[in-house]
Symmetry: none
Subunit: 189 residues, 4 copies
DNA sequence: AATGAATGAGAATTCATTCAT
DNA sequence: CATGAATGAATTCTCATTCAT
């Protein structure tokens, strides 16, 4: 991807995370990316297109990070814990600053093929894991959307609170929390 | 509260839910609330103040709804299920449309006393429930913030998916999901 | 019509006549009309609408001037000469500066009812005159559009040259020219 | 003239005729002429210069067409009718599309020598014809500018209406119109 | 000579806020 | 108190022009 296009996307993400939508002007993006205002329009139709493409860009990044170091040879629980921590670490490190802020969901979306493809990619391994867990009789017989809300969502939610300074989580609590998420999705006789 | 002020707040909430921040102009709020543009400024300092006050207004509403039909005489599990369903129903009914959209968290906040007070009120009964559950040895020994992320957050998360049409939840699955949340927060010997 | 709207239309006409389309910015119109830029948009949808409305406005003015002091009781030749001179004087006096410049025809048009109505009004008396002249056996048996091109168009054409300083016409030549236009449209045995 | 320069001029004329001044950007000219944007600036100072040169270019073309098949050996009336039809045909055929649209007169002009020379050339034969007609006692004793407005202008005016679809002229009417123009400029006993 | 990416000044338009009525 | 016309700064986007390759 062109150096300038990449810089523009990164500048946009940074400004959005820092100032929110209200504070996002094309002039500021241009300044932050060290390009002229008009240059943005060589790479993006208009402001909406910039935000659409940013959405896809972040989604791709997250899809990649989420399933890092996960493969379906690993025991299910290890797969689960790895993903849980991948989400946590991504949020804590500020890798994808928009995710923390809950502003990512508010990016305007289009139903582009690219996005569909990325979303499929993103959840492929997650789906595989949940399906495998259910086949093994370890997980509750619930749809993957629900298992995801029970098991992984709290990671993002808690990381958000942690990063925002609302509430600090220490390592011991973190492990206990992962265990609790595991409790939520597994069958208890 | 003055009739006009109330109308302005409701108009703002409706427009925000429908069109998002991008489409919220003071002129539109005035029109929707059937007042003159200048009138808004008799009740609100400026646009930011309107959004701050809307935040507090919604928070108060939600705090109220969340703990409806809950009292600490009830068995813990019943308290928990009631709150869980209060959240779910509020979201499903579109009572507080901003909550569904995840736009509530993006309202600008100030650290007003009013807000702190409301937040305390909001979580007082929730805190009481969690504390009681821990004292009884039923709940895991985790901070209330974590218990909340494990037990109640999935309700809001799932309701969001449901309302957005991403994923439909039937009654049976709903009950199983509440059970799973309960599994997340209770001790398993 | 609102004082401000009238001022905006006049400012637009003046600037167009003076600087052409190239030099017509909304800021300049606002300045010339002594209103704020935003005020223009209370009276006109956008720039195109301003030009559309200007077209109608001028057309109404011209329709009125063209047939001033003409009624169908007058001898045909007097009606014709009056109209011819109405065109000439309007152009010479700079009453409708856009007409001189040939820029009027280049105003963007819409097919509004108002415009159709005005155009009908404009040519009603002209049509009546030509029809009467043909009925009397004085005029050639040609369509009114052609009679207009032969008899009245040269007035506008010459006035344009006169005003632009390309060529000066004195009173004697003027009368001879009207006679020549008359020659163009009447039958010669 | 360089192939590229010619292509640029033609592209400009086409785009002007099709979209008007509003839609004429250097990028579009470049694209239409199949050259790079920067290349235009090797042949033309700037956008104004491009339009100046286009004016001269068209004027030269028109000057040439106007007096095609005309020489001062021919009878006056035949010279006149030939020129009249040259104008008519040029307009009808869309040879010089800007002329029809009345946009030609709105091209920015400079008082260049080249232009003066071309205008002289253009009217040399016309002047000769009018002078000869007056010397023969056939034409009215009016300045050539006036004779031109009376005799030739209606050709352009009518062709414009014809091309714009406002009014259709058939062959019979066309001949009658030329006769009427002749009536306008000749002496009647 | 030719290219076309990059520039940045300038244009149209919006909208929070004010203030005379 | 309430109004809503008016304001003008700020925003998005365009496009003539330049210049490194």
């Amino acid at each position: 991807m062109s150096d300038k296009k990449e810089r523009i996307l990164q500048a946009t993400e940074k400004l959005l995370a820092e100032y929110g939508f209200h504070g996002l002007s094309m002039q500021m993006v241009a300044k932050e990316a060290r390009v002229a205002a008009g240059t943005i329009y060589r790479y993006f139709e208009d402001k909406d297109d910039l935000l659409y493409q940013l959405h896809d860009h972040i989604l791709g990044y997250v899809a990649n990070k989420l399933t890092a170091n996960v493969n379906d040879e690993m025991p299910i629980e290890q797969q689960f814990r790895t993903m849980w921590l991948n989400i946590w670490n991504m949020a804590i490190n500020g890798d994808a600053p928009l995710i923390n802020r809950g502003q990512f969901e508010n990016l305007p979306r289009r139903n582009s093929q690219e996005q569909r493809r990325l979303e499929k990619t993103m959840f492929a391994k997650v789906d595989t894991m949940f399906n495998q867990g259910k086949a093994d009789g370890v997980f509750k017989d619930l749809d993957n959307e629900i298992l995801s809300a029970l098991g992984l969502e709290p990671s993002a939610c808690l990381a958000r609170k942690h990063v925002n300074g609302v509430y600090a989580v220490d390592d011991e609590a973190l492990n206990a929390t992962i265990d609790a998420c595991w409790d939520a999705i597994i069958k208890h006789k």
